[in-house]
């Protein structure tokens, strides 16, 4: 009986230490979850004269992928994104971060283009407004333009199935 209290205290301490080891402190939780996408005005990467604004995110679920042609791990997401493009559930938009127009276009030609629309953000200003701090990152946005989930890193089908798809299903 006398051993129970020290054991409990030890277990509590061990729990916190284990959490410290397991959690990656480089991954920041986003404070923008359940907040609306901020207003913006940016060029469409592929359609030169088209200006994109916040309203492109309304009335449908969107997966916003932050990518660059100079980001090596972004290519790992491509096969998954190209598969996902076939789902009617969601629109896939790209946010081209701190990139050069021709390099980005070339990358899309080589890697194939899974995006229905691509926002060109060469100075990274919209990205800052979204709390982007690296590439690749992905945002799940609902039909009201609210950010529901953010994933930092290469998007895989596992993350999609376990973290993002349930949010969409729950909302229906």
């Amino acid at each position: 009986m006398r051993y129970i209290i020290p054991l409990l205290v030890l277990l509590i301490i061990v729990f916190f230490l284990w959490q410290g080891l397991v959690k990656d402190s480089n991954l920041l939780p986003s404070p923008l979850i359940n907040h609306a996408i901020p207003e913006f005005s940016a060029r469409d990467l592929l359609k030169n004269h088209s200006i994109l604004k916040k309203k492109i995110f309304l009335h449908h679920w969107t997966l916003l992928i932050v990518w660059s042609s100079w980001c090596l791990t972004c290519t790992e997401e491509q096969p998954f994104l190209l598969k996902l493009r076939k789902t009617p559930l969601i629109s896939i938009y790209g946010l081209n971060y701190r990139d050069e127009l021709n390099q980005a276009k070339l990358w899309l030609k080589k890697q194939d283009n899974p995006f229905q629309k691509i926002i060109f953000d060469p100075r990274g200003l919209l990205a800052i407004d979204l709390g982007v701090y690296g590439v690749p990152e992905s945002y799940l946005i609902d039909p009201q333009g609210i950010i529901r989930y953010k994933y930092v890193g290469t998007l895989t089908s596992s993350v999609w199935l376990h973290n993002m798809a349930p949010i969409i299903k729950q909302a229906k």
Binding site: I5, L28, L32, R123, Y133, G134
Partner: protein, 139 residues
Amino acid sequence: MLRYMKKFLKKMLTSKLFLVTILFSPLTLAALHDLYSFDSLQKKNQFEQILYEMRCLVCQNQNLADSNAPLAKDLRLVIYQRLQNKQSKEKIKKYLVSRYGDFISFKPTFSLLNYCLWLSPFILLIVILLIFLFKIKKK
């Protein structure tokens, strides 16, 4: 020879560019490779303060003043532009925290959760001491 030197010196000292540089150099700040100029000393100090109090999220043990990362450079520019638009230091810091979370600030805000986190080791210490004293008293 001396005459040419005198002429050159006179030209330099009366040139506007030279005068502007000398007179306004306290109001320019070099952050790594970028040069920022301000119209008041107060603004320049505020800029420096913000840079020292905000973390670089790419090189997470550096502040925005020291970091070479592209994101740090972008954030410096955003902060500079907001100061030029007469936003207060508090408003700018609030904006950055609203986008990146408490982690970006080296001085986190004191919410209830932060208080609990900070005080938990002390609370644990007190609890353990109390148990210890209780045990001694029993003997």
